[in-house]
């Protein structure tokens, strides 16, 4: 197949994407002009698309999307189980709609269906995009960056340059770096904020938004979200709430629990902790004895448990961790101290699954998806393409449990025994999507920056 044919596949996609939400017929002349090809190539493609049913003639010189295009709505949002030998969905212990009837309704987040018309940010590709990253201090953050780079490689043709700066968790450094990125004449700013409450950062973002720069937050956003077009995240509330619910039910509503949060001041840590505390408050027999911050590091988890063990002199019944990043430190501290390891929560890190499964530690994990890096870049391209986009994008979070550890209201989406990757390094983040396999081969950087 020739080089022309290859680009024709891309042109077909561009033609199909050029129609509006109501499928308003478009003039052939306008389609060809937008496509920027010769008349012979353009008409050849359009004729082939009409013949195959992707487009249909509406009136003389007008075309609209045809029956084949309409068939594209048939799409699974997740991979169908049949044919997927790699991963089996967990089977519930109790099935039937009757069982669900008594379960509490899950919350509906109205923010997920609010949308923004990004047509005012529309400009022709290729784009210059800046990413002001809060830090790369832990494995999750590095995995999220790998995910972003993966998406960049996929969308290389649409990206002129991707500039990435690491603020090392320092708000004042991030403030300077934002200006450096703006000086590079970027079309869009991606940001993962170092501190949710930093007013200088918020003010600077507000000023840039007022000047017309589209800003998308990923993972961490400022408290004042007015400067953002959209925010890519996962439900921290869901992670905190479900993991705490599992812990409380696993302990039959009775016991002492220690909390290990991530980074003090980081919005995901705050939201997960608040959600967990709200759940524990519903169980009068659960006593939350202390809350420690760990910077989402193994050493932080290890030291925090060492400190509270020295004070309490006996291990708790459960350790609620908002991530396995510090959870591994906690588990290791109990093991090294010769204690029975109490029930833990927190996924993310491959090592957390390996440790808990190997030592038969009861655990519940909800991986915070590092694949949001790729999702953020995809959203950035959607915005610069002038599409209507969600104000808040949530990557789905799976509940991962070892077999036999489901509770009355917390059921597994996936078994830990199948989720763990024994062949991958301990610091692998399993939720980074296809970037995980790229990272397995080699750690890569930006393709264009």
């Amino acid at each position: 197949m020739s080089q022309d044919d290859k680009s024709n596949v891309q042109r077909i996609a561009a033609i199909l994407k050029g129609f509006d939400a109501q499928n308003t017929p478009r003039r052939t002349h306008d389609i060809l002009e937008e496509l920027g090809v010769t008349r012979s190539t353009g008409f050849g493609l359009l004729r082939a698309m009409v013949a195959a049913g992707w487009l249909e003639r509406f009136d003389h010189g007008f075309l609209r999307l045809g029956p084949k295009a309409r068939q594209m709505i048939f799409a699974a949002l997740e991979v169908p189980e049949i044919g997927s030998g790699k991963k089996l969905l967990a089977r519930p212990g109790v099935t039937g709609a009757g069982k669900r009837e008594g379960a509490p309704d899950l919350e509906w987040d109205p923010a997920l269906v609010r949308t923004v018309d990004a047509s005012r940010y529309q400009r022709p590709a290729p784009y210059r995009i800046g990413f002001s990253n809060a830090s790369t201090s832990n494995a999750w953050r590095r995995a999220m960056l790998q995910s972003l780079f993966y998406a960049e490689r996929i969308a290389q043709a649409q990206i002129d340059a991707l500039f990435v700066l690491d603020a090392q968790d320092d708000p004042s450094l991030q403030l300077r770096q934002i200006d450096e990125l703006v000086a590079q004449e970027i079309d869009l700013l991606l940001i993962s904020i170092t501190s949710v409450n930093d007013t200088e950062l918020s003010d600077r973002l507000g000023a840039l938004a007022a000047e017309g720069l589209p800003i998308v937050a990923v993972d961490r956003r400022p408290n004042d979200r007015s400067s953002l077009v959209s925010f890519v995240t996962a439900s921290d509330h869901r992670i905190g709430r479900i993991s705490a619910h599992w812990m409380a039910e696993h302990l039959s509503g009775q016991g002492r629990v220690w909390l290990l949060s991530g980074l003090d001041g980081a919005s995901p840590a705050l939201r997960r902790q608040q959600a967990a505390l709200a759940v524990f408050a519903e169980f009068p027999g659960i006593r939350v004895e202390n809350v420690s911050y760990t910077d989402w590091t193994e050493a932080g988890g290890y030291d925090a448990i060492g400190k509270v063990l020295a004070e309490a002199r006996r291990p708790p019944d459960g350790v609620w961790c908002d991530s396995g990043l510090q959870g591994v430190g906690s588990v290791r501290r109990f093991l090294e101290g010769g204690f029975d390891v109490p029930a833990h929560t927190g996924g993310d890190l491959n090592e957390m699954y390996k440790l808990c499964l190997h030592h038969k530690v009861p655990m519940a994990a909800l991986d915070y998806p590092a694949s949001m890096g790729a999702r953020a870049l995809g959203l950035a391209l959607d915005i610069l393409g002038g599409n209507v986009v969600p104000q808040r994008v949530e990557e789905p979070v799976q509940i991962v449990l070892p077999r036999g550890l489901e509770t009355a209201s917390v059921k597994a989406d996936s078994w830990a025994e199948l989720h763990v990757a024994w062949d991958l390094p301990d610091d692998a983040i399993l939720s980074q999507g296809p970037a995980l396999r790229s990272a397995k081969r080699s750690i890569r950087g930006s393709a264009t920056g």
Binding site: D4, N8, V9, Q10, I12, A13, A14, L16, K17, F19, A21, N23, G44, L45, A48, M49, A51, A52, W54, L65, R70, Q71, M72, I73, F74, A75, A76, L77, E78, V79, E81, I82, G83, P92, G96, A97, G98, R100, E101, D105, W108, D109, L112, V113, T115, D117, I154, A155, Q156, G378, V388, P390, Q391, E394, Q398, K411, L430, S431, G433, L436
Partner: protein, 209 residues
């Protein structure tokens, strides 16, 4: 370039974008093989379509139909407005009911199945691209209706029960949110409530600027 070459490009496009619906493929090679596209150009086409949002990959690397493709499909029916809402609403609906949730388009006596999220309670029910209504449905915007859908497996007629709530209509079709329900028990009160909640979310959606 000959007419045949343009038609071939259209064929390649179709083969690759429709492949994820038939089977799970966790590598470009698998997708290209299934699509019966020459390997020499298949990798580049696959990457192109992923970049265009016509294909996407999930957390395990499996290929899925991309959200741009879903948007184009909905635009084809004149209900493109629903495109950014589909994923969060269907995921919430599936999570709250554990049933397969879907968006579908009714035209005359035919139901075109759209994006869907497989729930663990009904994952044994394989969805079809199109169904026929067993009887003329009484569809009213915002009202939940339980109906039987008919489809054919060879010469054998099969039935799938669903609960539907129409959310939007255009000149020629009606967009509906639905749940595949247990064929003997039907939809429970909480499932009907969840559908109603999904409808209200869509109805109250406004586009900001």
């Amino acid at each position: 370039m000959t007419q045949t070459a343009y038609a071939r490009a259209v064929d390649v496009f179709e083969a690759l974008v429709t492949s994820p619906g038939r089977q799970a493929h966790s590598s470009p090679a698998g997708l290209i093989r299934a699509a019966d596209v020459p390997a020499s150009s298949g990798y580049r086409h696959t990457a192109t379509l992923e970049a265009e949002g016509m294909l996407r990959r999930d957390g395990q690397g499996n290929y899925l139909t991309g959200m741009s493709a879903v948007r184009v499909g909905l635009q084809g029916f004149g209900v493109g407005r629903l495109a950014p809402l589909v994923q969060p609403i269907l995921l919430q609906l599936r999570q709250s009911t554990q049933l397969t949730s879907f968006l579908a388009i009714a035209r005359d006596m035919e139901l075109n199945m759209g994006p869907h999220s497989i729930g663990r309670e009904t994952r044994g029910t394989r969805l079809q691209r199109t169904y026929g209504f067993e009887t003329i449905p009484d569809l009213a915007i915002g009202q939940v209706t339980e109906v039987g859908l008919r489809w054919f497996e060879g010469q054998v007629a099969r039935r799938t029960n669903v609960a539907l709530i129409p959310v939007e209509s255009s000149a020629s079709c009606i967009a509906l949110i639905g749940l595949v329900v247990n064929s003997t028990r039907g939809a429970t009160d909480s499932q009907i409530r969840a559908l109603d909640q999904a409808y209200r979310q869509i109805a109250e959606t406004t586009v900001g600027d």
